[in-house]
Assembly symmetry: C2
Homo-oligomer: 654 residues x 2
């Protein structure tokens, strides 16, 4: 029997003896742990007045076995890189995760009763406000992807002996993201990844598709290449045996399919529909339930844990070491382009990414079978061990990037801008987690041409601006593209870089700098009648329009708003102040939510006039130049609009 | 041998004899058809200078067999409800779809050579600009869901004898959306759905995960409950036999897994990596390829097709009949609430949806295992045959809604607002298609409380505003909720309705009307110092703030902007003009892309000052009232902001 003396408030000293699960008495501590987890789940949700206790009750035996039989971790050190990791994909069962951590000594038991309070890091669904949670869950079907990322790191990058455990609900297995993760996990032979499905047969609003048919899950995961074990999820011996079996499986991940009962342990809750997301009422109802879960005097907190397999250096601060943002810009080799040379910003991205990979071994790249278009292929060629082909499965690509980020890697994730919409929920959850990921979306706008609207990113700026604390960058040439990629490498949280398909002229000197939150005034005079603000492909259209207007005696200011968020509010207001308080924003993006709205938002309280030129209808296939013109964002259309404003008397000529 | 005399330019007369495929000579017309499809694909993409001919070549024999052996349709009548349907999920193979339609007499052969031209309805990826395409494809992994929707209609609603054929690429099978569709298709026993996977082993940038291993696909679809048939995708007899077998399969869908070669038919293209998305060059390269595809004098267009099984009435215009928007508002029973009664707008949605279902038999509902929260459960209770439980699989839910919409059904799709981000790519593609769907997202904002950020819709307005031509509605009480749901029923294209979790007081009379694009001025005086614009939960906060301010001698105008898009620009500008050109927008949404930006966009060129109160950080669990206050959008915070502006001298007291 394993006994650990740990005290969360002092340095931990851990002793371990071999644990054998074949004898009944060995299971008693685990069964006790499960009972305590049930009690905590019921009490804490009753105290909070909300939560999902029945979803916790079905998982209690599984979680107890994972935490107190299988997992190797140091309860005093969440950031120990050798820790096994646990992801609660069925995030609504958060109370049981918190209970397990408390019983393991990782947080004080009293804290459990602050569940869902505004001041508590024990939120309704797990978030990294709690240091044991690397990435937030709660939007179902994402945890397995996060686990894939952690497992990729453990097997191929940091080469750890640790395991990654993911507990899923059965209802969430309907999510396609789970099957993307399943396929990738088998393809990459992630034998350090162990999934467990809590098959309690009940979803939120009705019974699940397969109800209690554990075979349905088993045959599907087996077909996807996983080792599978079917068990009674309330039989502690079977659970431990399955977890032990999983340790020895090579070359494939393991899925333990556990038949359970929602509400298990309390007779009036067991397998009853209508109890999802309902806490028991404090007082009579709660006490009635607790009577069925007696502790029989074993009231002392049970603190058991197994040590990590390789004791790594104790982190100096809980999560700071592996996640620290490393300065890289200083070592970044300058771009080396000729002025006027035509280079696509997507190509410059590839070049810059290779440079970053050389500077920092933590930089990794993922792409969704578009690497020859996004130019992530350059990174694959230069740093093959750090490139993970993610195939046509963007949700899992983002989820895996989240997992890698929690392990201290610096992921750059690329696909067509349009296809990031496939992963918006994962991007949203990554934003909630605050993990550091750079998303690079190519083929933005109508300027991609003949492939047509399905391939055009026209809403990506709106999407990425709406991620809290995101940075959104949109370079117009190869120099700024490389510089912004280098800048992005040092940013925390969500960063999005928008790249274009067509080759555009280099307009900046190689030594030019591009501070995040800045902009570049490219054309200026004391007689500018208004300011044209653009980025990417339309910046070049604006420069062409400038020449045409100048030849007609009309001067405009031109600003490259390469930093869409944060936007250079000060610079823009200054320009507005000097150009009749009139701005014209031109973007290869839909009308709502993009650069135009970003500019509007920046000048919102200053009474500035903003004219937006953007794509106002669903575009169609055509030549790039044709489309820019038809959709109102070409040089010719900019000239037309400026002249129209002048003709209407909206602004004076100078 | 089946012979059909059809002439696309005159009334079609169709004769059919039984087709047996066991004799070799029967296959000759099909092999000829396949060859012509190859020739067209190579020629049209060479002419266009772009496209994916090798992806067409691998599919040519499959497409020929589907169109000229299996499918029953009237080439002169795209809208015949009895037609079999074909969805090209691997949308980049569009040229071969067009070629098949041309050879079937559904469009002139010469048109094929307008591929990808701006003026042509034959776009780079299929869109409904071509009447034979019900829903756009091109973002991979969505076609099977669309097929699920069509099949649900055929089997359960219109009870047709027709089939739905979906051609998938192998790379796209990595998309989770395919597995959501697969699970649902088997669950709903869609034996009228036949999928075909073109397993050519080559993705865009490298070989696929399973390469040419057809068994990998076969075991996975079999595990998901499909009938599976593995064939050589270039053996016409096997293809036809598989298609024939699929006709007779009952109670489960069929997946035909076809081993093919990318570029099949041209020796220098066959199974070569690096040819994805590359057209041949006109001239020598093209001619070299065409030499390998001789027609041997069989130059006449081959026009074969089988008739629909039940001849329905010829539609009066190509797609107008089944998709016509039926007026419903006139028959909609008025809401019946008491002023002051507390009702959640999500509950009112459920009530309104039931009413619509009673009025119009084409109204259908889908929900992702949240029906007890979104109140779609009311529709399930009232109209069970028209409710489709979609389980926790939002991508497929939206794709299936698209399929249903193409069959003339009026889908209302609901889940938590936050979880619609899971389906943004499908929503995006539905927007490109212009199909008519209403999305109803509940549990918006921080006002949901303790469940925390993973469950809060805080970017949904940004997302849905960015869908071209969308309508975005945000009722604040039960009366406006019901009225707006009724109004939505008559709208074309994408409509989004945002509902809230908490019960809020009814503030409108039951007979009040809410025109789309309108707003309601709820508090007004000649001395208003500014205008507060809000919607949903914050509208009530604004009304409370109004009272507090009034008690302090400060008057503000209050507007309910229930129509976020189109927004009542005229009404807002009028109010601004009367209230010192100063607006304060308060929303339970992130700062970027929501109601504030919608207002800003409306007043953009008028120099109006707009102060935005919105959520500026990732929220956390807490009580709803607590969160509204902490995140700056409560009545108290509105009052604080107004007073602050007055104190700063930004605006006069009256």
């Amino acid at each position: 029997m394993a006994l650990f003396s740990t005290d969360a408030n002092s340095k931990s000293r851990i002793e371990e003896e071999e644990l054998s699960v074949t004898s009944v008495q060995d299971l008693a501590p685990l069964q006790l742990a499960a009972r305590k987890l049930r009690i905590h789940s019921l009490r804490s949700t009753a105290e909070a007045g909300s939560g999902h206790p029945t979803s916790c009750l079905s998982a209690a035996d599984l979680v107890a076995a994972v935490f107190f039989h299988a997992m190797r971790f140091d309860p005093a050190d969440p950031a120990n890189p050798c820790n096994d990791r646990f992801i609660l994909s069925k995030g609504h069962a958060a109370p049981i995760l918190y209970a397990a951590l408390a019983e393991a000594g990782a947080l004080p038991v009293e804290k459990l009763y602050t569940l869902r309070k505004f001041t508590s890091e024990l939120e309704g669904h797990p978030t990294p406000r709690l240091s044991w949670v690397g990435a937030a869950t709660g939007s179902l079907g994402q945890g397995l992807s996060i686990g894939v990322g952690m497992a990729l790191n453990g097997k191929y990058l940091d080469k750890l002996d640790s395991r990654v455990y993911v507990l899923l609900g059965d209802g969430e297995v309907a999510e396609g993201g789970v099957w993307e993760a399943a396929a990738i996990a088998a393809h990459y032979r992630l034998d350090n990844l162990i999934g467990i499905i809590d098959v309690n047969g009940l979803g939120q609003s009705q019974r699940t598709m397969y109800d209690g048919d554990v075979t349905a899950y088993q045959v599907r995961f087996a077909a996807f290449g996983w080792h599978t074990v079917v068990i009674d999820g309330h039989n502690m011996q079977q659970i431990c045996a399955a977890l032990d079996e999983a340790q020895g499986v090579k070359e494939r991940p393991t899925m333990i399919v556990a038949r359970t009962l929602k509400g298990k342990g309390v007779s009036f809750l067991e397998d009853r529909d209508g109890w999802h997301g309902k806490p028991l009422k404090k007082g009579e109802e709660l006490e009635k339930a607790l009577k069925e879960l007696p502790l029989n005097g074993a009231g002392e907190p049970l603190r058991v844990a197994r040590p990590p397999l390789r004791t790594g250096p104790r982190s100096t601060s809980p999560v700071a070491v592996t996640l620290a943002v490393t300065p890289m810009a200083a070592d970044f080799p300058a771009p080396s382009y000729q002025l006027g040379e035509k280079v696509a910003t997507r190509a410059a991205y590839g070049t810059a990414l290779v440079k970053l990979g050389t500077i920092n071994p933590r930089v990794v790249a993922l792409d969704g079978d578009t690497k020859n278009s996004t130019f992530a292929e350059k990174f694959l060629a230069a740093h093959p061990q750090r490139y993970f082909e993610s195939y046509i499965a963007e949700q899992n690509m983002v989820g895996a990037a989240v997992g890698l980020a929690t392990c201290g890697k610096i992921p750059f994730v690329s696909t067509f801008a349009a296809f990031f919409t496939r992963a918006f929920d994962h991007i949203r959850m990554a934003g909630i987690s605050g993990v550091t990921i750079k998303y690079v979306g190519s083929h933005c706008g109508v300027s991609i041409g003949e492939d047509g609207p399905s391939q055009m990113g026209l809403e990506d700026l709106a999407m990425m601006r709406a991620v809290p604390h995101s940075t959104v960058l949109y370079p117009c040439d190869a120099v700024s593209a490389e510089r912004l990629v280098a800048a992005a490498a040092e940013l925390k949280g969500t960063t999005y870089i928008r790249t274009s398909r067509p080759a555009t002229p280099v307009i900046y000197h190689n030594i030019e700098e591009f501070p995040v939150g800045g902009s570049k005034v490219l054309r200026t005079s004391p007689r500018d009648c208004l300011t044209v603000i653009a980025a990417g492909v339309t910046l070049h259209e604006a420069l062409t329009a400038y020449e045409t207007l100048r030849a007609a005696g009309i001067l405009v200011r031109v600003i490259d708003a390469y930093s869409v968020k944060p936007i250079d509010a000060e610079g823009i207001l200054h320009a507005a102040g000097q150009t009749h308080n009139t701005l014209m924003v031109v973007e290869d993006h839909y009308y709502d939510g993009g650069l135009g709205d970003a500019v509007l938002s920046a000048v919102a309280t200053y009474g500035v006039r903003v004219y937006k030129l953007a794509v106002t209808e669903v575009p169609r296939s055509g030549k790039p130049e044709e489309l820019l013109d038809v959709y109102g964002i070409s040089a010719r259309r900019i000239v037309e609009q400026v002249k129209s404003l002048l003709a209407q008397g909206v602004l004076p000529l100078s």
